[in-house]
């Protein structure tokens, strides 16, 4: 079976006066129809940039320099800009971290949800009035579906008239109104109050089942991903360092970075355990080729780590980019 989305050898570089920054450096990932893939990594690990590359939203001086992105079997990197645009919002949709800034303050929420539909919908009636009625009906329907109370009467309101959680729902409605096959949710809970986070994650899960779509859940929180996803990919310095089924990764983490991440999560069921942070921090210099990217922070660093490390298969789709550790 071909994957709904397959990323092969993707590289996205930024040309800066200080030299080339390898934001995404050789990513291979697959997303099957209907599944939920968690993408975990810290700021600057390239997880958002990888999926902005998939969306075709990388801004200068960034550029996709190599790789293939197969969406429903077709390499979309070779498509003309107009064809690429036709996929965005229709086949593959994305939500941003903060709905407050992602929604336009000067447009009503009704307009903002409707425009995704108007940009793509070929199945709308042709008459002007009939078209407007149809758009309105679909907008109200999706806003109701994402749990906006009284949607029909609030189409004319502006984003600032809603609470943070409601804005997040509206943004999700903007992304889902065309019923895409795959939703990239970039840090959907980071900007929210803790009490609302679970609601939004529940909503994304509900919509996934309702619309039968795949979800890529980008988060820096391994806990969130572990709870909501079937598979997970751990990003570090522009590469996937470990990927596999959530169960396998949690039970038998094979990369020192993944282990560090797990040890740094506070746990309610084990209050006596100390939280161990990973020493040091991720810098752009870590994205140099010719060595393990985690080298500068790794307790197990050794001479063999000073070479490009390939992903090794541990079976059942569990793969790791480390030569020192095996579970």
């Amino acid at each position: 079976m071909t994957a709904l989305l397959a990323i092969e050898g993707l590289q996205t570089f930024f040309a800066t006066p200080a030299g080339e920054i390898r934001a995404v450096d050789g990513i291979d990932l697959e997303v099957a129809a209907g599944e939920c893939l968690g993408v975990v990594g810290e700021s600057g690990s390239g997880k958002s940039m990888a999926f902005l590359s998939v969306m075709g939203l990388v801004r200068r001086p960034g550029r996709v320099v190599a790789g293939r992105i197969l969406l429903q079997g077709e390499d979309i990197l070779g498509l003309a800009p107009a064809a690429r645009r036709g996929l965005r919002g229709r086949v593959i949709a994305m939500t941003m971290q903060d709905a407050l800034t992602a929604l336009n303050p000067a447009l009503t929420v009704g307009e903002q949800v409707a425009e995704t539909l108007e940009a793509h919908a070929a199945d709308l009636p042709t008459g002007r009035a009939a078209r407007r009625r149809a758009v309105r009906a679909r907008v109200v329907e999706i806003l109701g579906l994402v749990g906006l109370p009284d949607a029909g009467r609030r189409l004319g309101d502006y984003p600032h008239q809603f609470s943070g959680g409601m804005r997040q729902r509206i943004m999700i409605a903007c992304a889902l109104v065309c019923r895409p096959r795959i939703l990239v949710a970039d840090e959907p809970t980071t900007a929210l109050d803790v009490t609302v986070q679970a609601q939004i994650l529940d909503l994304i899960g509900d919509m996934r089942r309702e619309l039968g779509m795949a979800v890529v859940l980008i988060s820096h929180d391994l806990g969130v991903v572990a709870e909501r996803c079937e598979r997970v990919a751990v990003f570090y310095a522009g590469q996937v360092v470990e990927t596999g089924a959530v169960r396998d990764i949690l039970d038998r983490p094979a990369h020192p970075y993944t282990r560090g991440l797990l040890r740094s999560i506070p746990r309610l069921d084990d209050p006596g355990r100390r939280i161990e942070p990973i020493p040091g921090q991720l810098t752009p210099a870590d994205a140099r080729p010719g060595r393990c990217r985690f080298l500068s922070r790794c307790a197990l660093a050794a001479p063999p780590c000073r070479a490009d490390i390939a992903l090794a298969d541990l079976g059942r789709g569990h793969r790791v980019r480390c030569v020192r550790l095996r579970p």
Binding site: M55, L57, R59, R85, G86, L87, R88, G89, R90, A93, M94, T95, M96, Q97, D98, T101, A102, L103, N104, P105, A106, L107, E115, T116, A119, H120, Y158, H160, M171, C174, A175
Partner: protein
Amino acid sequence: MSPIKLLERLIQLGFVLFGISLIVFLMMEATPGDPVEIMLGDSLASAEQKELLRRDMGLDRPLVARYLHFVGNALGGEFGQSFFHRRPVADLILERLPATIELTLVAMVVAVAVAIPLGIIAAVHRGGLLDRLASVGAMLGVSMPGFWFGILLIMLFAVRLHLLPVAGRIGYSHEVPAVTGLLLVDSLIALQPASFLAALGHLVLPAVTLGLAMAAILMRVTRTAMLEVLSQDYMTFAEAKGLSRRRILVRHGLKNALIPTVTVAAIETGSLLGGNMIVETIFAWPGLGRLVVEAIFARNYPVVQACVLFYAVTYVLLNFVADVLYTVLNPKVRL
């Protein structure tokens, strides 16, 4: 904007206007030169005759009385007699006003029509050739004095190329029946295309001279606002929805970028009135600006007072309009 807030704003406006009237009145009082002496010049008028004229013009009464008289009359649209024309000042102003309004409006339209598209293009192609040219042009535009730029234009287009007229609103051969007082409109109403073109030809140089600085400032404001908007998340999100580039720029970009631009445009239109004095003098434009300049040189107090008051009130009102427009465009702001 709620009616109560609007009312508050209007009351504030009243205080500002009161202050303006006081300043205008005192400024003219403090200006050196006795209007009676200037008016009579070196004539052989006796001291009694001068005293008579002074009383006739009300200049012998105390300051406060004269101020109250001034305000009372001004509220009734009565600004006294011009010392020289021996006609009501209000009549003089109304006679000159249409020419100034026409010039100002055209200058504003020219400035907006040039500046906003240029500002957007400069922002979208930031650092490109057009952006750099526009930046240099804007720098020249704000720093070049109107009297110099106007004369350069006259030298090139009128003296050397004989393309455009140098002075006045329209040739003497044209007779346009006055309806609005704006020649462009009146000539169209009268179905006189030749007169329309003549009026338009006369407008080009003064309007470009007058609008240059405003265009330069507006261009910079539009560019800055657009750059700010382009970096916003909602622009990326709009792109993620699969909207066309044009729609993203116009609907998502311009709508937000116009908020500061429109505000500045309304305020700058007020400054155009100040620029009018210079431009109208250079181009012998029979408008309010030239009336003021002439009146200042002649110590024609009533005319100067009335005109300065008029300018100030217009300026304040335009600021008020800018505030209102700001709230209309920006749903987040409620005054």
